[in-house]
């Protein structure tokens, strides 16, 4: 039975990270139509920065906040410098640009901090035993942090003027402009928020997996699976999809096969998309011809 609790709870914890990163991806996508492949590399690079700040004597919590803030700023900067000049509607070009940006920033991170993996300190120490399985408190912390982040984002989008403006821009760029909403300002906020959420996810998982160049690739891969499963247009879907992927991944490793876990999970995602192409929580869109 402890195997089950181990798989389930660590799966939820992993899924919470995928959900945070996925939420960041969806917020950026919905507001600016850009699928940001550089999100993982920037978030990871900012965790190296946070580690450096902490090593200089700054308390870890503050160093993490600095890392998250840096990630938001770098994200906005990247959007202004390399994405915005592409103009509206350049979906494929923007995709390729973010891929290129990811490779460049990966090399830059390696050049600054070196290639060897590094240990990342935990925000909270200690462990808890649940159902015979033991979890670090850091691992368990991810779950409420992701839940609070999601609730915070939901509140922002449903109850604040800024959130309404972001939803309006996501629905229709032109109509939002006619209503007096500044789409470029909204885009900057969306990138800052999306990148910040991804950095928060990286900050939560770094103590468990350490920092290594390219070490975020598997997490980004599963985050993408989560947003496609949950629905590219749904913020709830991004988080719930991420959690589903995390749990299924671990349950597959335990009860099916540890080497076929990816195959099992992604086969399930494909099956769902065949039945419901918009994802579990996404909205079907129609275009009049």
């Amino acid at each position: 039975m402890s195997e089950f609790w181990l798989s389930l709870i660590s799966g939820i914890s992993n899924g919470a990270v995928y959900g945070l990163v996925g939420l960041g991806l969806v917020i950026i996508y919905r507001s600016t139509d850009v699928m940001n492949f550089a999100i993982g590399t920037i978030a990871l690079g900012c965790m190296y920065l946070a580690l450096g700040i902490n090593a200089a004597g700054i308390p870890l919590a503050l160093a993490l906040l600095a890392g998250i803030a840096a990630c938001s700023l770098i994200g906005v900067g990247a959007r202004e410098v390399v994405i915005r000049p592409l103009g509206p509607g350049a979906l494929f070009s923007a995709l390729v640009v973010t891929m290129g940006l990811s490779l460049i920033l990966e090399e830059a991170t390696r050049g600054i901090w070196g290639g060897e993996p590094r240990r990342f300190p935990s925000l909270v120490e200690g462990s808890l035993t649940i159902g015979g399985a033991t979890f670090t408190n850091q691992r368990l912390l991810v779950i409420p942090v992701a839940a609070v982040a999601m609730l915070g984002v939901a509140y922002l989008f449903k109850k604040t003027p800024l959130g309404s403006a972001m939803r309006a821009v996501a629905e229709s760029h032109d109509t939002a402009t006619l209503l007096g909403i500044k789409p470029q300002r909204v885009a900057r906020v969306a990138w800052a928020l999306g990148m910040g959420l991804a950095a928060l996810g990286a900050a939560m998982v770094a103590p468990t997996i350490g920092l290594a160049i390219g070490g975020f690739a598997a997490i980004l891969f599963r985050s993408f699976a989560g947003i496609f499963l949950g629905g590219l247009t749904s913020m709830y879907g991004a988080v719930i999809g991420g959690v589903i992927v995390g749990v299924l991944d671990n349950l597959a490793a335990t009860y099916v096969s540890a080497s076929w876990r990816d195959t099992f999970v992604f086969s399930l995602v494909i099956l769902v998309l065949l039945v419901r192409p918009q994802g579990l929580f996404g909205e079907k869109t129609f275009a009049r011809v």
Binding site: L6, R119, F135, T254, S257, A258
Partner: protein
Amino acid sequence: MRVASVLAVALMALGVAACGSDDGGSSGGGGGGDTIKVGAWFPLSGPVAASGIPQKAGASAYFDQVNAAGGINGKKVKYSTEDNAFDPQQTIQAARKLVGDEKVVAIVSANGTATTAAAFPYVLNQAKVPIINTYGGAGDWYKPPRPGLFGYQALYEEQGAAAGAWAAEDGHKNIVVVRSDPAAFAGVAKYVGPGAKSVDPSVNVTEQVVKFQTSDYGPIVGQLKGKNPDAVVLILAFPEAAAFLKQAKLQGLKVPAYGYAPTADEGLIKLAGDAANGFNAVSLTKPAMDPSPEMEEYRAALKKSAPKEQPSGNSAASFAAAKAFGEVLKTIKGDVSSQSISAAFTKGGTIETGILPPLEYSKDKHLGATQVQRVTVKDGKFVAEGEFITPPPVVK
């Protein structure tokens, strides 16, 4: 008309690229004059960059040290490196650049088994440039010996057998081999059982296969507890071995763990912290922090050449591999060419680096050594357990 223009430009570009590529059929020519040109490929990006980067640093540190002391027989060594991203196709491109464009006389201390093998047809067969002391290797590389191909390390399979034998010597009867799923790891894991059984035929050895690049070893450890092992042998990349050790400690799986040479890396200790204490591995070299003069020389050279790199098994191995090449180079009188390098290796003799076991090459023996060093993590660092030992002879 527009399509025709684009097509014409594309064909011209292809033609220019074809003309610019290697001439083929000739040996590297970069050994005359004051400079000896050698090269290598390493995975500096991608999933095994954590090993490739320190390996590049180690070999480069040796050549930087040698050049600072005046070179070899008065000639400086130019060591050119390329990123192969652990991909066979990119390795071939790297080989064409090094051999065809830069005219290196040898490939020294490169990385990778499948990747380096992909370059054999071009480098060894066509260009007749020797490949010396690759980090990696397979049984069929040296039996029978191939012209121009020389190695310095125990094969991965022999390392697996040595790890299994060690676990059996320590009295463990129920050993589980935890390995990543790609074929490269499967091939190594296959010999852990025979290695263990060469010591004690009654040992039971089973496998636990894990998806490559797994970061959450919780479910794996949970499953392992159900198998009740006495010991585990980890055939994993070192970051994954570290993740395993951390989870094993957390979940109370208190069994000795053994690993092969890629796990004998200081990076494992950094990532696993306290959980690494007691971990046993077979290493290609003496521990990176060993107090011997030769290891001190290596650490000093690394600090000067690559200040950001920490001493590690990976960089020590490639430093020593390059050093062994340098020792052979010193015996060459006159022009250094691909042919004279191969001839010097086959002349025979023992090379002592003080980091690797003694290396012996000859016309019929192109694999310099097969011995490994047992190391254990004590108080946060790898410590040597005895001298170099020969793995059990179970690998065909």
